[in-house]
């Protein structure tokens, strides 16, 4: 048997995974072969070195963040009749909400106010499932459906607040403040349609989003409010949206298009 073959046996020897005959064969070889004996010593050393690597413990904020998110009342899951579900399914898929979680008229999962959202972050691979699931739990399905389906990669929730509905049973107003992985910021505001629209601004121009006109106000260092942000505002299904971000227009249009 070659030394290369013995190397595999040496590793399995350390895992106590050799048959008695293989073990005897290896031990006999090790007595005669200095190279393989040295390999055994290096493999043993590898285990010792890796075993000595330091360990820490999670920062306290991690426990707070996890428990803050799981302590919210869970969304009641019940099957939606097919006829009722048809309309909301497209919305649900757009925001990554399971169709079974949608129940018409379901109350928001949290009362109006600012939700505690320490450090909740979207999935780093960009599917944002963690963030979307978190938002679903925080907002309840009706409000989550009002948010865009596309959220930029690595988005981290800085602040999430819900405004009281303008009328009983009406939609909550949602403010979502995201810090993005690349340092950009994105604020999504959703208001009922009767909310006062932003007045005409000379610098604003019209942009087509999904065939509908939205107003785009580019960042303007001369203006106090929009000093660092582009603003894209428009309406979807009777709700008014305002996306305020350091992201460029093309990204804002993509986000706006994902709102259903």
């Amino acid at each position: 048997m070659s030394c290369a073959r013995y190397r595999d046996l040496i590793s399995r020897f350390l895992d106590d995974a050799l048959a008695p005959r293989e073990r005897q064969q290896l031990l006999a070889h090790l007595e005669q072969c200095a190279d393989c004996a040295a390999t055994l010593a290096r493999y043993r050393q590898a285990g010792v070195l890796v075993g000595r690597l330091p360990e820490g413990e999670p920062a306290p904020r991690v426990r707070q963040a996890v428990l803050a998110n799981i302590s919210r009342p869970a969304v009641v899951r019940r099957r939606v009749p097919a006829a009722v579900a048809t309309g909301v399914m497209a919305t649900a898929l757009a925001v990554g909400v399971a169709a079974s979680a949608l129940a018409p008229g379901h109350p928001a999962a949290v009362p109006p106010g600012t939700a505690a959202t320490p450090g909740v972050k979207a999935d780093s691979e960009g599917d944002n499932q963690v963030l979307i699931d978190f938002l679903r739990r925080s907002l309840g399905p009706a409000e989550a459906a009002a948010l865009p389906g596309y959220l930029p990669r690595g988005a981290r929730v800085e602040r999430l607040s819900l405004g009281r509905p303008a009328q009983a049973g009406g939609p909550y107003e949602v403010d979502l403040d995201l810090r993005l992985e690349d340092g950009n910021r994105l604020v999504v505001r959703q208001r009922a349609s009767e909310a006062k629209a932003a007045g005409p601004t000379p610098a604003a121009r019209t942009v087509l989003v999904g065939g509908r006109e939205w107003r785009y106000l580019p960042r303007n260092p001369g203006s106090a409010r929009e000093a660092a942000s582009n603003v894209l505002a428009g309406e979807v299904n009777g709700r008014r949206y305002e996306l305020e971000s350091t992201l460029p227009l093309a990204d804002l249009v993509r986000i706006a298009e994902s709102i259903r």
Partner: protein, 187 residues
Amino acid sequence: MGEDAAALPADVVARARRGEAAAFAAIYDRYSRPLHAYAYRLLGSAAAADDVVQDTFLQAWLSLGQLRDDERLEAWLYRIASNRCFSVLRRKRLLSLFSLDRLRGAEARHERNDQEGVAERDLVARALRRLSPGLAACLILRHADGFSCEEIGEVLGISTQAVWTRLSRARAAFAEAYRREAQGLRQ
């Protein structure tokens, strides 16, 4: 597995699955530290390990219904954490592909001024990062977390025989990477 799992009540997973936050908090308190240690060793960054732990438990909370055997909780959590770590490493490797070798020389020079133990740990960490994530995870689970080959197979979703093969390749690759790193340090 790594530590005494009997510390948790037998029905803790069932209670967490029913939405009992206190039960899930008990699971967090039992496993967050070893999972953090695992992610830290694999990623080499405490902040990244924090993110992995947070993502792992949020994912676990959302997916508890998919855990078929409650006694497999630990392996299941490690599997979620492993996948998170592998994602982070894939992304990180893409970003640092070109900068690693350039930085290595500067880091190695800097190390000479450090304490010997710290320098050796960094040497080990750098050697580990030269391995593929799957091989590095095998070595860490075996030697730092004290998992058996069967348990590692359960975490990584591979057979015990495949774990033996991976460990053999991992030990050979680590020994070579460690030798090179140590050589770079001496130069």
